[in-house]
C-alpha cells in the first residue's frame, strides 16, 4: 500500500509495503476487500457513502478503482458534520417529546392525572424513575411515583422538608432555584421506589407554576445508568416548565370549580320525593348543554304547620344562563322566607313582587304556586298562577284539565293580582307544572313547529295512572326528541301525584324509608 502525506498522521503505521489490514480499521479493510475482489464490482451507489471512525474522528471514504486494479481511498474528515447530524437527531427527539408532553399535560385539568402524566413521561424519557410531589399544607405530601416500564402510583408520604436539601424551596416555588443534586446515600427511604435497586444519581427540579407553587420533580437514575449531563438537566428543566404550568392550571381549575360548585349547589333544582303522602317529581334541562343552571326553577317545601299543604313553586325568570340563575336564587330564598304565609298564595306573590321590584330593570318572573295536602287517599290542591302557563291536571280516565288560575307576572309592575283555584287528585291522578321551554320547543319532524300546548296535553292524556317520575321523564323525553339537536330554552317540569297504592304502610310504615331513598 501507499499513502500520501496527509494520510501519514492519520494512519501512523501505514508505510509502503505494509498490509492494509494491519494499519486501517476493519470497516475500511472490509470495504477494500469487497472492492478489490475479482468479478463484477458493484458500483457504490450514491448516497451510500462509506463512513467510519478512525482514531476518534469520523471519516467518509471514497474509493477510486484505478487502471491497474488497485484502489485509491480518499478519506474525508466528516466529524463536524456527523456531530451536527447527531445533535439534530437528538434535538428532533426532544422536540417530539416536548410536543407529546404538552399534548398529554394540556389534555387534563385534573391535578392527579397531570401528576400521573408527568411522572410517567419523565420515567420513560428522562430517568429510570421519577417522583412528582404536589405542594400541600403540612408535612403530608401527595407523591406520584413511576418507574420506567411501570404505571404511576399515588401515595401520601410524611416528609420532613428540611431532611431533603432543596425540596422545601422547590415546593415553595420561591426563591427560584435551579435543579439540585442530592447524594443518593442521604436520600430518605420514600424517595426510592420499591425494588428499584441502588440509586446512582438523584436530581430535584422545581415545577414552576404561574404564581402558585406547582410542586417538584425528582429524577432518579440507577447506578448502571450514566449520571445526568448538564445538557440533560437543562432539558429536564424545559420539561419541568411545561409540567409545572399544567399542574398549576389544574390546581387553579380545581379551586375555581370548587368555588363555583359550592355557589351553584344553591341554584341547582332539588331532588324531589314523597312528602307526607304526596308524590313529587321534577326534571330540569338548562338551555345550554354546558350549563347546569338557568332561568327556570322549582322547589317543594314541606308544610310548616301540621295539616297544611306542602308548597310547590315552579317558575321562569326572563333571560338565560348565570344571570337568570342568580335571580332564581333570590326568588327561591324570598319564597323560603315567606313560607309562614304559604297558605295565602296571593299575599306571597304580592310580597315577592315588592321584594323583586327594582328601578334598574324590569326583569320579571312568571310562576305557579301549588299547595298539596293529602286527605284520605286523595290530594287536595290549591293552585295560583303569577303570569305562568296554567298547571295541567291528568285525570284517571286520561282527561287533561287546565287549572283555572290567572295572574300577573312578578317583579316588574307595582301592583299584581292573581286568582287561586282548587282541585282534588284521586289516587293515580297528577298535576303537571311546566315552563314554556317545553311548549315552545321548536322542532319536530319538519323542523320548525312548536311542541305546543295541544301536543303536551295529548301526551299527558296517555300518562293517566303513571308514577310522577314516569310523567316527568316522559314529558322531558318527548320535548327532547321534538327538539333534536336544535337550540332551546330552559325546560322544567314538576309533577304532583296522589299515590296509586293506598296501603297505609306505604305512607307511614317501615317500608317507605326503604324504597324512597
Amino acid at each position: 500500500m501507499r499513502c500520501n502525506d496527509a494520510a501519514g498522521p492519520l494512519l501512523p503505521a501505514a508505510a509502503p509495503g505494509t498490509s492494509l489490514v494491519d494499519v486501517a480499521p476493519a470497516w475500511l479493510c472490509a470495504a477494500h476487500t469487497r472492492l478489490a475482489s475479482p468479478g463484477p464490482h458493484p458500483v457504490p451507489e450514491t448516497g451510500l457513502t462509506l463512513r467510519g471512525d478512525i482514531g476518534g474522528r469520523h471519516f467518509e471514504a471514497h474509493p477510486t478503482v484505478r487502471g491497474d486494479g488497485s484502489v485509491a481511498w480518499w478519506l474525508v474528515d466528516d466529524t463536524g458534520h456527523q456531530l451536527a447530524r447527531e445533535a439534530l437527531r437528538r434535538e428532533r427527539e426532544r422536540s417530539a417529546f416536548l410536543a407529546k408532553a404538552s399534548n398529554v399535560l394540556l389534555a387534563s385539568l385534573n391535578l392527579g392525572r397531570c401528576m400521573d402524566g408527568t411522572a410517567h413521561m419523565a420515567a420513560e424519557n428522562l430517568a429510570d424513575a421519577a417522583l412528582v410531589i404536589a405542594p400541600a399544607r403540612g408535612q403530608r405530601l401527595p407523591v406520584v411515583t413511576c418507574v420506567r416500564g411501570g404505571a404511576p402510583a399515588t401515595t401520601t408520604v410524611t416528609v420532613d422538608l428540611d431532611e431533603v436539601p432543596g425540596l422545601a424551596e422547590a415546593l415553595r416555588g420561591f426563591p427560584p432555584v435551579p435543579s439540585r443534586w442530592i447524594d443518593p446515600a442521604t436520600a430518605p427511604g420514600w424517595m426510592t421506589p420499591e425494588r428499584f435497586g441502588p440509586v446512582g444519581s438523584i436530581v430535584i427540579t422545581p415545577l414552576p407554576g404561574h404564581g402558585v407553587p406547582a410542586g417538584a420533580l425528582i429524577l432518579l437514575r440507577a447506578t448502571e445508568t450514566a449520571a445526568f449531563s448538564d445538557e440533560e438537566e437543562a432539558f429536564a428543566r424545559l420539561f419541568a416548565a411545561r409540567a409545572g404550568a399544567a399542574m398549576s392550571a389544574a390546581r387553579l381549575y380545581a379551586e375555581q370549580s370548587t368555588v363555583s360548585d359550592m355557589l351553584m349547589r344553591e341554584l341547582l333544582p332539588p331532588d324531589l320525593h314523597q312528602i307526607s303522602g304526596v308524590d313529587f317529581a321534577g326534571g330540569y334541562r338548562p338551555s345550554a348543554d354546558h350549563e347546569r343552571i338557568g332561568g327556570d326553577f322549582y322547589d317543594v317545601h314541606p308544610a310548616t304547620v301540621e295539616g297544611a299543604g306542602a308548597l310547590v313553586s315552579l317558575g321562569d325568570v326572563c333571560g338565560k344562563g348565570l344571570e337568570a340563575a342568580v335571580l332564581t336564587g333570590k326568588i327561591r330564598n324570598t319564597l323560603h322566607a315567606l313560607l309562614p304565609l304559604a297558605d295565602d298564595h296571593q299575599r306571597m306573590l304580592s310580597l315577592l313582587n315588592t321584594a323583586l321590584l327594582s328601578s334598574h330593570h324590569t326583569r320579571f318572573a312568571t310562576m305557579v304556586l301549588a299547595s298539596a295536602v293529602r286527605r284520605g287517599s286523595a290530594v287536595d290542591l290549591k293552585l295560583t298562577s303569577g303570569g305562568h302557563p296554567s298547571p295541567l291536571i291528568v285525570r284517571a280516565d286520561g282527561t287533561v284539565e287546565e287549572a283555572d288560575t290567572h295572574g300577573t307576572l312578578i317583579g316588574a309592575i307595582p301592583n299584581v293580582s292573581a286568582t287561586t283555584t282548587t282541585a282534588s287528585l284521586a289516587p293515580g291522578e297528577s298535576c303537571v307544572l311546566y315552563t314554556d321551554g317545553i311548549t315552545e320547543a321548536k322542532g319536530g319532524p319538519m323542523g320548525d313547529d312548536l311542541f305546543g300546548d295541544e301536543r303536551l296535553k295529548r301526551a299527558l292524556a296517555g300518562c293517566a295512572g303513571m308514577p310522577a317520575e314516569g310523567i316527568v321523564e316522559h314529558v322531558q323525553m318527548l320535548a327532547a326528541q321534538w327538539l333534536g339537536n336544535r337550540p332551546h330554552d330552559d325546560m322544567a317540569v314538576v309533577v304532583i301525584s296522589a299515590p296509586r297504592t293506598h296501603h297505609l304502610s306505604a305512607v307511614n310504615g317501615h317500608t317507605r324509608g326503604r324504597f324512597t331513598a
Partner: protein, 136 residues
C-alpha cells in the same frame, strides 16, 4: 332545515308630538335592548312628546326578554308622562300579554298628566327635560 333568526329591524317615524316605531322581526333575547335604546333615545330627545306608538303589525316572536323590554319602555313612558300605544298587535302577542297578566298594564296606561308613583317611591318626573335615563 334550521329557521333563520328573524332579526329585529326598527323604523322610526316622527310627528309633531308623537313618535312611531315600527317593529319588524322577532323581539327576543338577542335584540330586545335595541328597542329599549331606541325608545329611550326618543323620549330623551323629545321632552315635549305626548305619545309613543309601537307598531306591532310585523312583529314576529316575542320572548320573555322581549316582554321585559316592553315593560321597561312602559315604565319609562309613564315616568315621562308619555302615552305608550301597542298598535296592530298580532294575536300571538295578545296571548302572551294575557297569559302574563300584563295586557291591561301595557295597553291602558294612565292618562297623560297624572302622576304615578314610581316604584322607587320618587314621584315621576314628567317635566324633567333630559328624561329619566339616570336610573339606567
Amino acid at each position: 332545515m334550521t329557521t333563520h333568526p328573524n332579526h329585529l329591524e326598527l323604523t322610526t317615524v316622527d310627528a309633531q308630538d308623537s313618535v312611531r316605531i315600527e317593529l319588524h322581526g322577532d323581539l327576543d333575547h338577542d335584540n330586545a335592548d335595541l328597542l329599549v335604546q331606541e325608545a329611550v333615545a326618543q323620549l330623551t330627545a323629545r321632552p315635549a312628546l305626548t305619545d309613543l306608538y309601537l307598531g306591532c303589525a310585523d312583529l314576529g316572536a316575542v320572548d320573555s326578554m322581549g316582554l321585559c323590554a316592553l315593560l321597561m319602555i312602559s315604565r319609562r313612558t309613564t315616568e315621562a308622562g308619555v302615552r305608550m300605544h301597542l298598535d296592530d298587535r298580532p294575536a300571538r302577542l295578545d296571548r302572551l300579554l294575557t297569559l302574563t297578566g300584563t295586557l291591561d298594564h301595557l295597553t291602558a296606561p294612565p292618562p297623560a298628566g297624572s302622576v304615578t308613583p314610581s316604584i322607587t317611591g320618587e314621584s315621576a318626573m314628567a317635566a324633567r327635560p333630559t328624561g329619566p335615563d339616570s336610573t339606567t
